[in-house]
């Protein structure tokens, strides 16, 4: 096996238990928020981002499409602005929606990114929407998902805005932590001669995962409500 491929699989295996460890529990999160002050909001925000595989898959899709570090920074910044607006705004104003429905839309964003990366629009002979605008739109949707999640916790009384901002800060920290291995793995894979196969495999996986998560969320919506 090629050295790069070996490194790639090694990295994936290294991060596998990390993701498993970061997997949180709702009740313990609530307890942490109740007793841990503002620091707890940062921690729960970061944990939520690190364990939210729909957010991570979407980020992976975004990074896969981009070649330069400058582009990555630009697109991630737009995504961040988008989710900050809805996370802070919706939580502060108490706007919420059914979590399954919001997550179903987030799943569609994963599907969309895989489809776009595979040149789906070109194949359909349709001009693809402005990528930066779409990233902003999906950022807003992901942010609304995070806001809905945050509002499902009892945030207690006092320091309401500070708590939202700390949760947001945690989300950003989690995003940076998640992006480091994603960018690293994707950059490493680009040097491999089988990158095309890997690119197709991952983006087809995003399409499948997007469909799977969408079906799962809709099913949960109808079963649970």
């Amino acid at each position: 096996m090629h050295t790069h491929l070996k490194k790639l699989f090694f990295l994936l295996l290294v991060f596998l238990p990390f993701l498993g460890f970061a997997h949180g529990v709702t009740s313990s999160d609530q307890e942490l928020l109740r007793n841990g002050g503002l620091w707890a909001y940062i921690q729960v925000g970061a944990t939520h981002m690190l364990t939210g595989y729909d957010h991570l898959l979407f980020l992976a899709g975004v990074v896969f499409f981009l070649n330069s570090f400058k582009d990555i920074l630009k697109f991630i910044t737009v995504f961040t602005i988008g989710h900050c607006i809805t996370l802070i705004g919706a939580t502060y104003m108490g706007i919420t929606a059914n979590e399954h429905l919001v997550d179903a839309v987030i799943a569609l964003s994963v599907l969309y990114k895989g489809f776009e990366n595979l040149g789906g629009f070109k194949k359909l002979k349709v001009s693809s929407p402005n990528l930066l605008l779409m990233i902003l739109l999906f950022g807003l949707i992901h942010g609304f998902g995070l806001a809905t999640r945050l509002q499902s916790f009892d945030m207690g009384e006092g320091q309401f805005l500070a708590k939202i901002l700390c949760f947001n800060l945690g989300v950003e920290l989690g995003q940076v932590l998640a992006l480091i291995p994603i960018v690293f793995v994707i950059s490493l894979s680009r040097k491999h001669r089988q990158f095309t196969a890997f690119y197709k495999a991952v983006n087809w996986y995003l399409v499948l995962a997007g469909i799977g998560l969408f079906v799962y969320q809709i099913h949960s919506y109808f079963q649970g409500h």
């Binding site: 994936l12 529990v25 709702t26 609530q30 109740r34 979590e99 196969a197 197709k200 079963q223 409500h225």
Partner: protein
Amino acid sequence: MRRQHFFLLLALVVLCSHDLYIKMESYFLEPNQQATLQLYNGTFEKSENTITRDRMLDASITAHGKKVAIDPAQWEDQDSTITKVTFQARKAGTYLAGVSTKARNIELTAKKFNDYLKHDGVLDILQQREKDNLLDQDAVESYEKHVKAIYQVGDVKTTDWNTALGYPIEFVPQANPYEKYSGESITVQLLLDGKPLPNQLVYADYIKNNDTHSHGDHSHEHKHDNKKHTHSHDSEHQHSHKSNSGEAHTHTNGQQLRSNDQGLVTVNLPEEGVYYLRTIYMVNVADHNELTHRSKWATLTFEVSHKHGSDTHTHDHDGDEFPMWIFVLGSLVIIGILFFVFRKKN
């Protein structure tokens, strides 16, 4: 025929005391939903008496680490039998409601006292009376009731269910009842003055969801007629029970358990439904001019649903979604398969 009627009448005269329960239409609420706590003073199925406010030493709701007293003015009598309080559920979490009443005295003839001990499952005292040849002695008993209910608002589970309210006697679950599902069991600790109470009889029963009444396969009919009743553990009103079969109703249906050295009992939760635990701790009183016995009563109520029902459903990136490691492992396998497919194609 006359003989049958005679025995039926005899059965009707069988006496029972009044357990106190905190009862809700559903123990699963949505945040900000309006709900009612009802005090059932009788059996779990039928209340016989209201509870006057001056009797309440404590009436409170504990949630998110705070115990908030229920304003006495909020209580109202629904009718002559049920006292209730209407409130709005707040944020998501597991809530604990508690009511503690003052002690009262009751005088009972020997026969009535023996009947009550039998039908309410205070068997240790009954045996003691038999052993000591005291079955013919009348009794003056001081009794007090301390009851709790645990209900779930929204999906988020919090830890207030394990709060000891400091009542003279109380049940404290060892796990969140709303993280327990039908087919499982729950361990509950019985505390007397804050300390584990060992070797105490505890009765646990449940009402199936959507049933108006269920104790397994048989049903009960309650009859109330002041002429036929002679005592109750709550003053003005009196009650008795008979079943369709004419057998005397008792308060000891369901699981009969005995607490271990740590005061623990394990209650099976075979089906979805509203579960209630009850116990009466009684001691003989030797050094008192008036009293012969002193009792402390406790109940605990909560609801159990099935594991994947809408009531227990939680949604987030952890909770009931499939575990992260399965997702990651599955993803790697799929990507690996796709990779080899596309490599071969290339």
